[in-house]
């Protein structure tokens, strides 16, 4: 038997480990190893790629949310408008309005004035009042204040609305004759070329082309006027006056084509004319959007902020941690170090493991039934959210803590017990500190889970629309993931960017939490 095995290579003098069969087996083994290695590396590469795609889309979407365009508005805050004894009583909407009219004096008709008021945030008056009352804006005279643009105007300034525009220098010397609100342009053949090249408009009665809101907009800009072309033929081009530039400069006449038809975009030609002019005059400034980072929720996209949700999340997590960590670690220590191993503790153990698998919304239902209906705790409050999330994270912490307690070598316990430490001293002085890094990892996983949790909080009313920044644990609040959930549901395009921005803030929150945990773990980590 042994002989046949030894001689299976056929060549005498070569052992079982060096004959051809063995060489073949070895080669196959290496091939399998290489295959395995490549499969693993491939899996990692795919994971990194997907993560990269995900993160980069979020970042690209989110970037506009962190900046906002402000209109530098001249306002009159003298005694005439603002009573310095009671500044809160002034009519700030009117002050903003007057500032706008002063900035664009050409606007006279009622409908144009209403449209002009729409290019700044409807909350401008309120924001100005806040700043004046708080004293961050100087009173007592004329000054310039930054007022956030309306969300669509802001998007236009960021190049996210009507972004496809073509500008053509009109060669030759086009002549423009103004008559009331109308203008007649001659000697500008490029205009008709541009219209026909795009196949825009419909043939009119006189052989010319008539443009409508369903066509791209053709705007003629001179140093003094912005005109919108209505009809065009080889002989003449008729236009309406959109905007008269107050501080006329000398500038070559040019044709601006806004390729998206007016009916398909959220910004009118008139607003485009105004905003372009304001920007040329340096009256629009792009700043870091402190409103997004440091203000509460709002239905107005331009002033909707994330701070309320950040504070809500923070308060909720404080409650969760304060409850789940000591209770979880205590339970783990008891079960692992003190509890007798009998049927009851076994039952508890099985139940804890099962609890970790319960869908989170069930905890929300429990919170609704117990905390709100039974204990009559306030709705939408971080304290209740914290309770619910603590229940949800408890099993995670207990399981992780037990595993890391069990991983502490027996020799450490024996050493302590052997010199007469009591059981409690052994656990508190030696076992628990050694298990702490592992316990903290588990806790962070639990807290990260809690931070991203939405469903159970919906059940206890943390989905309510709350404008005020919560000031305490019983104030109504919302949390970051719920805020993201709500914003994702709003139709305004600006909220798309806010949603992505909020996701980034949530991720940053998470990274911060993890960093803190790493620092804390470093402190606890010891060699043995």
């Amino acid at each position: 038997m042994t002989d046949t095995v030894l001689n299976s290579g056929g060549i005498p003098g070569r052992s079982v480990h060096t004959n051809d069969g063995a060489r073949g087996r070895l080669a196959r083994r290496y091939t399998a190893e290489r295959r395995f290695k490549w499969l693993g590396a491939g899996a990692v590469a795919v994971a990194i790629l997907l993560l990269g795609v995900l993160l980069s889309t979020i970042v690209v979407q989110a970037v506009p949310a962190f900046r906002a365009n402000y209109l530098l508005l001249p306002v009159d805050l003298s005694e005439k408008n603002v009573d310095s004894a009671r500044p809160e009583n002034a009519d700030y909407d009117a002050i903003v309005r007057d500032g706008l009219y002063r900035l664009l004096p050409g606007v006279t008709s009622r409908s144009e004035k209403r449209a002009l008021r729409g290019i700044v945030s409807s909350a401008s008056g309120f924001l100005l009042q806040r700043d004046v009352v708080a004293g961050s804006t100087l009173r007592g005279g004329a000054t310039t204040v930054g007022i956030p643009l309306d969300d669509f105007a802001d998007l236009y300034m960021k190049g996210l609305l009507a972004e496809k525009q073509t500008v053509i220098e009109l060669a030759g010397a086009p002549s423009i004759a103004v008559d009331g609100g109308m203008a007649l342009i001659t000697n500008a053949p490029q205009i008709l070329d541009a219209i026909t090249a795009r196949g825009a408009g419909r043939a009119g009665d006189d052989g010319g082309i008539r443009l409508s809101v369903k066509d791209p907009s053709f705007l003629v800009e001179t140093g003094r006027l912005v005109l919108k072309i209505k009809t065009a033929s080889a002989a003449r081009t008729d236009a309406t006056i959109l905007h008269t530039v107050p501080m006329a400069g000398s500038k070559a006449t040019q044709l601006r084509i806004v390729e998206t038809p007016e009916s398909q975009r959220k910004i009118s030609d008139q607003e485009v004319a105004w905003l372009n002019d304001l920007q040329n005059r340096g009256a629009i400034e792009s700043r870091w959007s402190e409103l997004f980072l440091f203000s509460g929720a709002s239905r107005e996209p331009e002033i909707a902020g994330i701070w309320g949700a950040v504070v809500g999340s923070l308060l909720t997590l404080i409650v969760t941690l304060a409850l789940a960590f000591p209770v979880g670690v205590g339970a783990a220590v008891y079960l692992e170090e003190f509890a007798p191993k009998n049927r009851w503790t076994q039952l508890i153990e099985v139940n804890i493991n099962n609890l970790a698998a319960v869908p989170s919304i069930v905890f929300g239902l429990l919170g609704l039934a117990v905390f709100l209906n039974w204990f009559n705790l306030p709705r939408s409050a971080p304290v209740v959210g914290g309770f619910v999330l603590a229940l949800m994270t408890l099993p995670t912490i207990i399981i992780a803590a037990r595993a890391s307690l069990r991983a502490v070598p027996l020799s450490v316990r024996e050493a302590a017990l052997g010199i007469g430490a009591s059981r409690a001293q052994t656990v508190l002085h030696h076992v628990l500190p050694l298990a702490m890094p592992g316990i903290m990892t588990g806790t962070i996983i639990g807290m990260a889970q809690a931070l991203g949790e939405t469903a159970p909080l919906l059940m206890i009313g943390m989905v309510a629309f709350i404008v005020d920044i919560p000031g305490g644990f019983t104030d109504p609040a919302t949390v970051l993931p719920v805020q993201i959930f709500m914003w994702a549901d709003f139709p305004e395009p600006a909220f798309r960017h806010k949603t992505a921005g909020a996701i980034l803030v949530l991720l940053a929150f998470l990274v911060l939490m993890n960093a803190l945990a790493v620092i804390l773990r470093r402190r606890f980590e010891r060699r043995w």
């Binding site: 020799s411 450490v412 050493a415 017990l417 052997g418 010199i419 007469g420 430490a421 010891r526």
Partner: protein, 274 residues
């Protein structure tokens, strides 16, 4: 089974016992049985440990030496499935008696383990810990004093004097074991139990620890488990031979290694099994 217990009774009445009967008995065990679950590991052990002597426990692996040693400071209490019956008296008081607290017992009967197991703390804290929890020092200088004398007695002070705040786990194996001995001494025990304290050490470190054991004998009663016959012969005055959970023979070490009473002891010592 029956003839075994008779053999044990014989042992209790060996002439060797009477020769040194002037010596006081520190720990006496009578009819000690130990079970791990259903499995019996020790069978009615009757063994006296004499004061200020080194008693060596020898015998082949798995014969129950460690188990017996751990009975003496009730370390077996920490093993759920372990059950100890019989009588173990420390200075005449049963250690299972409710009037002896297990914490107090372990302060009086210290232990050094097979694998050096210093706490993952500084050298100072390792030694000071026992004194701290038992309240042996009221002030910091007192504690310093205890740490210093303990390290001195363990023969480690010279090597670690200027790095007391470095981790104890950073020392060499032999130093770690002497640190563990210093840690045990710092509590001022009466008895020190050592479970194969040199099995993880090199010969030089072993020699140091053995020397230390001989010095410690003047102040402490020592029970040491060893698998080295030479070590037993070098450091101990009394030797007990275990086999398959039975105490085969206990005798003066000199006599044990020259002219043992029991056939199995003779076989073991001469290396016929073990």
């Amino acid at each position: 089974m029956l003839d075994m217990s008779i053999a044990n009774l014989d042992v209790a009445a060996t002439p060797a016992d009477t020769e040194t009967s002037a010596q006081t008995v520190k720990i006496s065990s009578r009819e000690v049985d130990v079970f791990y679950g259903d499995k019996q590991a020790l069978f009615s052990i009757n063994l006296d440990v004499r004061e200020n002597m080194v008693t060596a426990l020898i015998g082949p692996s798995g014969c129950g030496k460690s188990t017996f040693l751990r009975c003496l400071n009730r370390m077996n209490d920490t093993i759920d499935i372990c059950r100890v019956s019989g009588e173990i008296r420390l200075d005449g008081v049963d250690i299972h008696d409710p009037q002896i607290d297990v914490v107090e017992l372990r302060a009086r009967v210290g232990m050094v383990f097979q694998k050096p197991n210093p706490f993952p703390k500084s050298i100072y804290d390792n030694v000071a810990y026992g004194a701290r929890i038992h309240g042996l020092a009221r002030t910091k200088p007192e504690l310093d004093e205890i740490v210093e004398t303990s390290l001195q007695k363990a023969g480690l002070l010279g090597e670690v004097r200027d790095r007391l705040d470095e981790p104890g786990t950073g020392l060499s194996g032999g130093q770690q074991q002497r640190l563990c001995i210093a840690r045990a001494i710092a509590v001022s025990p009466e008895v020190i139990l050592m479970d194969e304290p040199c099995s993880a050490l090199d010969p030089i470190a072993t020699a140091k620890v053995e020397e230390l054991i001989s010095e410690l004998r003047t102040n402490y009663t020592i029970v040491i488990v060893t698998h080295s016959m030479q070590q037993a012969a070098r450091v101990s005055q009394r030797t007990a031979m275990f086999h398959l959970g039975i105490l085969v023979e206990v005798n003066d070490t000199d006599r044990m290694f020259t002219n043992p009473d029991d056939e199995r002891t003779r076989d073991y010592i001469t290396g016929r099994y073990g």
